[in-house]
């Protein structure tokens, strides 16, 4: 029971109270760039979620089975980013050969994922928060859900925004950030739920 409670807390915390986009300010490049349509944001969300969960398992294993025994903890940043880049490349090659339909849907997002700062952040936070492997997986799932949720929310607002007149001064990117600011206020209201 205690264990379930812990899982639930980490999950809710990473989805809402510490949302990766609105509260922790991670992965903002893709948040602005990929939310032009609903399909784009769902596609990007799915691709990033998959890579985040896999990368956090791989990097966790690398850290505790290779870096710690060799006392090379200070190399974690380089190791993790290379792991993510290699993993993304492998996924791309595999999808191209094995599942071409999925590749066509996900392919354009894959090169962008390697420099998505959320993935590196999740792998690094798994280590600094000293999560167990189970908790690391839960945390990365929560982070991905939070990220996808953020993309979908903003995409919805941007679709609605096509039908209204925006002051000339704020047209383009400025209004997107102001919309994001209001969504962030809503997420701020959820801060108290995970204590």
């Amino acid at each position: 029971m205690e264990f379930l409670k812990e899982i639930f807390t980490v999950l809710i915390n990473s989805i809402f109270a510490q949302n990766f986009v609105f509260i922790r300010f991670l992965a903002l490049c893709s948040f602005v760039g990929m939310t032009t349509s609903m399909e784009n944001s769902i596609g990007m969300g799915g691709a990033v979620s998959f890579v985040t969960v896999m990368a956090s398992v791989i990097s966790y294993a690398l850290y505790y089975f290779i870096l710690v025994p060799l006392h090379l903890e200070y190399l974690q940043t380089i190791t993790f980013i290379l792991t993510i880049a290699v993993f993304v490349q492998l996924v791309e090659l595999y999808l191209k050969k094995a599942v071409p339909t999925l590749y066509r849907a996900m392919g354009i997002y894959l090169p962008l994922i390697a420099t998505n700062c959320m993935i590196l952040a999740v792998t690094l936070l798994n280590i600094t928060e000293q999560y167990s492997l189970m908790m690391a997986i839960v945390f990365s799932i929560g982070a991905s859900i939070g990220y996808t949720l953020a993309l979908i929310l903003l995409a919805g607002i941007r679709i609605k925004m096509r039908y209204i007149t925006i002051p000339k001064f704020l047209q383009g990117y400025p209004i997107i950030f102001i919309a994001a600011s209001f969504i962030a206020i809503a997420f701020l209201g959820l801060q108290g739920i995970a204590r």
Binding site: F25, A27, Q76, I81, N116, L170, G172, I178, L188
Partner: protein, 203 residues
């Protein structure tokens, strides 16, 4: 000479990495809670950017085309690790408040973007100027956002209170929504400036 000046100014105004190209936003919004943090972040960021641009442009002729991205990542990652260890050793309090955003410099799209687009094709001098311009452009944005957020949100400048105590600061500006709001306004302002500059040039 005018060419180098243009390279420098492009990073500050027309191609400002944060406000125009919309990359490297994460650290700008997250760290700009106090001006001191913002200056610390700018120093760390400039170190990595200048170091990697100089290194890459020095070895640009021996990098094989197909392996360039992994090599860029290793060079940037090494500089990031150096600054991470330096900050941890000499300023533990700054390390604590910047937290995860120092190692995240490695995935900052500005750096890999400039290395790929500029210094892998240009001389070391031009790369130095370009990285300085980009650093100034980045620093200007992050410090100005931090200054406004600190002034409105906690009523202080560099940590010193400047308003009399009966004026309550607007807490929302140090919280995440304030950051989104202020960067939105700053983007609008720089767009207006650039539009006016372009108009004047056209005349």
């Amino acid at each position: 000479m005018t060419n180098l000046k243009q390279v420098f100014l492009r990073g500050v105004l027309q191609d400002n990495p944060v406000l125009i190209l919309m990359i490297g936003l994460c650290s700008v919004l997250a760290v700009s809670v106090t001006t001191v943090n913002a200056i610390g972040m700018t120093i760390a960021y400039s170190f990595v950017l200048i170091g990697s641009e100089l290194t890459i442009s020095a070895i640009r002729n021996v990098i094989p085309k197909t392996l360039r991205i992994p090599i860029f990542i290793i060079v940037i990652g090494s500089f990031t690790t150096i600054i991470q260890l330096l900050v941890k050793a000499y300023s533990p309090s700054l390390d604590k408040s910047l937290g995860i955003f120092i190692p995240l410099i490695v995935v900052n799209c500005i750096i890999i973007g400039r290395v790929e687009a500029f210094s892998s094709k240009n001389t070391m001098l031009a790369s130095l100027i370009d990285s300085l311009g980009m650093s100034v452009g980045y620093g200007m944005v992050i410090v100005s956002i931090a200054f406004i957020r600190e002034l409105l949100g906690s009523g202080t400048v560099f940590g010193f209170p400047i308003f009399p105590s009966f004026i309550k600061p607007m807490l929302i500006f140090v919280l995440p929504p304030g950051a989104f709001f202020i960067i939105g306004i700053e983007i609008a302002i720089i767009n207006a400036i650039n539009k006016r500059l372009a108009k004047n040039k056209g005349k």
